[in-house]
């Protein structure tokens, strides 16, 4: 899926928990996330804390989009 969007000419960042799957589906920019049922959140935190966490991840994804890569890259 990620590959199709990349093929259409759009830079794409894949945010997902199981990064090896992201690698096999051919994503080039990968940002690892928290957990399967809540990739961009953590129900153990307060709403405010969660937003900080989520913002951090999204900013990392934007950074990835602004970064030139030559090969599949995981932005830890």
């Amino acid at each position: 899926m990620v590959k199709e969007i990349e093929r259409a000419g759009l830079p794409i960042v894949h945010m997902c928990t199981v990064t090896p799957i992201s690698m096999t589906v051919g994503a080039n920019r990968i940002v690892p996330t928290i957990a399967i049922p809540h990739p961009l959140g953590n129900p153990k935190l307060t709403m405010a804390e969660e937003k900080v966490l989520r913002r951090g991840l999204v900013e990392k994804a934007l950074k990835a989009l602004e970064t030139e890569v030559e090969d599949q890259t995981i932005f830890e």
Binding site: T17, P20, T24, A35, I36
Partner: protein
């Protein structure tokens, strides 16, 4: 180890000997549960597609994972994903209704084969 299964015969044989996680549901539900356990860091011990009985024929599935949960194993995650893909492929062929209209005598055989296959792995380890 934990045996994830929807096969009552497996439950009956290993109850009290091994940890059983019984899944109310089909072949795919067992795959999904195992996938989630892998994501939680349990190690996959048996191949999810064991046996030559195709996933669109038998409604039963038993898969062993480790009790211990550590860091998620990447190869396991890929393997379960590939198995789910293979399952979907056979499901899309839509030949059989995976047990819904299968006569009891045949279901019995499917349960028996699933039991003996998982036993071939579990009993030696």
């Amino acid at each position: 180890m934990i045996i994830v299964t929807n096969n009552p015969d497996v439950k009956e044989k290993y109850e009290g000997i091994r940890q059983i996680e019984f899944v109310e549901g089909g072949y795919k539900d067992v795959l999904i549960r195992v996938r989630d356990l892998i994501f939680e860091g349990h190690e996959l011990l048996t191949h999810p597609l064991m046996g030559s009985v195709k996933p669109n024929e038998t409604p039963y599935r038993s898969i062993a994972v480790s009790r211990h949960a550590g860091k998620m194993d990447n190869d396991n995650a890929i393997m379960i994903a590939e198995c789910m893909q293979t399952f979907e492929k056979f499901a899309a062929m839509g030949r059989r209704d995976r047990g819904r209209n299968t006569p009891e005598w045949l279901l019995e055989d499917f349960r028996y084969i699933d039991l003996t296959l998982i036993s071939s792995a579990v009993d030696y380890h």
